[in-house]
């Protein structure tokens, strides 16, 4: 673990050479102009001194707490945990940032994800399935209408017509006696009508 950290540290230091306000050689290079070493850059001195001081203090603290007597075994409790237990706990849990994150953003994201999934599966899909169900219902209704109303209507019409035809057919039996009988009856009726008319 130390080797990567050392590399990162060296790179970080080198990066610090890029944007120095005193000598903005990199910005000038990008802008295509010549760089000038600034004589006096306002406000920078405070930052430079403060940041270096903090860094040096941190190095000193590290040497003081851990550098003089390196920890021999992992079970040995940390010095800071004995000197300042609260600070140690805070630092150990990384300022509780992870916990805050998990409780808020991560939980929110998981909830949104589940909601989007349900939305998709049941709302949108439900609408589509509903439309297809509606069309099929319409189709069944139409099929019913066709078979039992339209078709039935015509079939019943024809059936009654053919019954009528059968009735008529029974009158035309084809038997000469029936025809003669009707002719005879008609003759009698005609005679009565003519005699009656003549009697007037």
């Amino acid at each position: 673990m130390t080797a990567p950290l050392s590399i990162l540290a060296v790179c970080a230091i080198l990066l610090g050479l890029l944007g120095t306000p005193a000598w903005p050689w990199f910005q000038s290079f990008l802008n295509g102009e010549r760089s000038v070493i600034a004589e006096h850059v306002p406000g920078v001195a405070t930052i430079m001194v403060t940041s270096s001081a903090i860094a040096l203090f941190g190095i000193f603290l590290g040497w003081r707490l851990y550098g003089r007597k390196p920890i021999s075994a992992t079970e040995t409790p940390d010095i800071l945990s004995q000197l300042q237990p609260q600070t140690f706990r805070l630092l150990n849990h990384a300022y509780y940032v992870d916990l805050i994150y998990a409780a808020t953003f991560v939980r929110l994201t998981r909830w949104s994800a589940r909601l989007a999934d349900i939305f998709d599966r049941f709302l949108f899909n439900g609408i589509v399935q509903g439309i297809s169900f509606g069309v099929l219902t319409l189709a069944w209704i139409d099929s019913f209408v066709d078979n039992y109303i339209v078709n039935f209507g015509f079939d019943t019409g024809w059936r009654s017509l053919s019954i009528g035809g059968r009735v008529l057919a029974s009158l035309q039996g084809g038997r000469v006696q029936t025809y003669l009988r009707f002719i005879g009856l008609a003759l009698v009726a005609l005679t009565i009508f003519l005699l009656w008319g003549a009697a007037r």
């Binding site: 069309v135 319409l138 189709a139 139409d142 099929s143 339209v150």
Partner: protein
């Protein structure tokens, strides 16, 4: 020369009947194929020769001079396209009937008689002659279905015959009325179209004649003969029935009803039930047929019923196109006549000949487990292509026809155009459902592997190829038919219709 399409078919039918019952089946079939191909050849040569689309007379002989009736055959662009369609479907039908074993010569005799009469209707210029041929069509139809059909054939055949006779009766009444009102001089088409009947007369005569023809064209609600009839008929008969005979009705609507009585389409003086003219009534009925036919096809269990109801739906497109009364809509209707003739033929052929004749079942749920896509790959591919054509997929003839009809509808009845869109969508769904259930369902793993089915024979492949190629040709290059149809629609014969204003 074109008249020979009729004569050859009749002669072929006669020759067929004279052959002894014991005659070699192959000889009979070859004779039938030869006759049908000869008719197709004549039609094709006439189609290629007459590029202008104008009317030309084929034969004109005095027949009953006392009534002014001539034996007058003539053709224009519309008739030529439909004659060509008949030729193609006839040849395909003969090829698909190669396996008829029972009384083969009688079957083909009736078949050729039917074809000849259909040619006659399309070529007639004298309306009496047209009516005669129209009636002749009914007889062989009945026998084909009653003798060689399947499910409930007597009922289906009788129902079909009765509906057709009622329709013809209405047409006859209208024709006689027109003849008398025009002065009893002649029944020639141009004479009757040119005599100016009174508006009141036309407002009554038009619906009578139109409905008379439209019954055969499957107008809702007079359509119920179609599903039963188509299902009952043997394959070649259903191909002809749905493909060509229903177009006779639509042709009659255009050629007779709309040409003779164009004022019947004018708006009425007052509104009845929200309708303002016969035009609106029939347009709405047509759209109802489109959507209704498609919806009912969606829930059918029998494969052939799906196709039967799809015919009703597609005929609705034709009738809507006719009612738009603009050049694009009516041209679209005629292209749909051609397109549906080819596609219906193909669909019935796949269902009846390729599948039913081998599996002896038409139940979609029973066909699924048979794994037909593996056993009959040619049938599966043909049905996919025919289904694509039927649902109006671009690249096939159905798309061009529907496009033009919707264009016409946008100009004339915008609200109905939206309904047509809904109808097209349902059309896609039911075709896809039938195709999936019949060919691509999950194979039943427990059932024993089905015995292999007879492979698709060469005549079937030839016929399928002929129909698909024709559909693709019209779909990709419709100009070749539009070139003769549009001048025909612009001819003086339709002048009365045009005064309603081509839009």
């Amino acid at each position: 020369m074109l008249a020979w399409t009729i004569y050859i078919s009749f002669l072929g039918a006669g020759a067929m009947l004279l052959l002894p019952n014991r005659a070699a089946k192959t000889g009979v079939r070859c004779l039938a194929l030869f006759t049908a191909t000869a008719g197709f050849g004549i039609a094709l040569s006439a189609f290629l020769r007459h590029r202008t689309g104008e009317f030309f007379t084929v034969t004109d002989i005095d027949w009953i001079p006392a009534l002014g009736i001539h034996y007058h055959l003539a053709a224009d662009g519309i008739s030529l396209s439909l004659v060509l369609l008949t030729g193609i479907v006839a040849v395909a039908g003969v090829l698909f009937s190669w396996d008829i074993d029972d009384r083969t010569n009688q079957f083909f005799a009736f078949y050729l008689l039917l074809i000849g009469a259909v040619y006659g209707v399309f070529l007639s210029y004298d309306l009496f002659l047209l009516f005669v041929f129209y009636e002749i069509v009914i007889i062989p139809k009945y026998f084909l279905i009653a003798n060689w059909g399947s499910t409930r054939r007597e009922y289906g055949a009788m129902k079909l015959a009765i509906y057709s006779f009622v329709g013809s009766a209405m047409v006859l009444v209208g024709l006689i009325a027109a003849f008398v009102a025009a002065g009893s001089q002649s029944m020639s088409l141009d004479y009757l179209a040119g005599s100016h009947f009174t508006a009141a007369f036309q407002l009554v005569a038009f619906p009578v004649v139109f409905i008379g023809f439209a019954i055969l064209a499957g107008l809702w609600p007079f359509h119920t003969w179609a599903p039963t009839g188509h299902v009952a008929a043997p394959t070649a008969a259903s191909m002809l029935l749905a493909g060509v005979v229903m177009k006779l009705g639509a042709y009659g609507c255009l050629r007779v009803a709309m040409t003779l009585f164009p004022l019947g389409l004018q708006p009425w003086s007052h509104h009845v039930l929200g309708f303002a003219s016969w035009r609106e009534v029939f347009a709405v009925l047509a759209v109802v047929g489109i959507i209704y036919g498609a919806l009912v096809a969606l829930v059918q269990r029998d494969f052939k019923f799906v196709i039967g109801y799809s015919s009703v739906s597609h005929m609705g497109f034709i009738l809507l196109g006719l009612m738009t009364i603009n050049l694009i809509g009516v041209s679209g209707a005629i292209i749909q006549m051609i397109s549906h003739g080819l596609i219906a033929g193909l669909l019935f052929a796949v269902v009846g000949r390729m599948v039913y004749a081998r599996t002896h079942t038409r139940e979609l749920n029973a066909l699924g487990p048979m794994n037909l896509s593996r056993l009959l790959p040619f049938a599966a591919v043909t049905f996919i292509l025919a289904g694509m054509a039927g649902m109006g997929l671009p690249g096939f003839s159905g798309f061009v026809a529907e496009l033009m009809i919707v264009l016409g509808a946008w100009g004339a009845f915008p609200a109905l155009a939206l309904c047509v869109g809904f109808g097209i969508l349902i059309g896609i769904v039911y075709v896809w459902r039938a195709m999936q259930k019949a060919f691509f369902a999950e194979p039943d793993r427990e059932a024993p592997p089905p015995h292999s089915l007879q492979p698709i024979s060469l005549p079937e492949k030839l016929a399928a190829f002929l129909l698909i190629a024709s559909s693709v040709a019209v779909g990709l290059y419709p100009q070749m038919v539009l070139n003769i149809i549009q001048p025909a629609l612009n001819s003086p014969l339709f002048a009365g219709l045009r005064h309603g204003g081509w839009q």
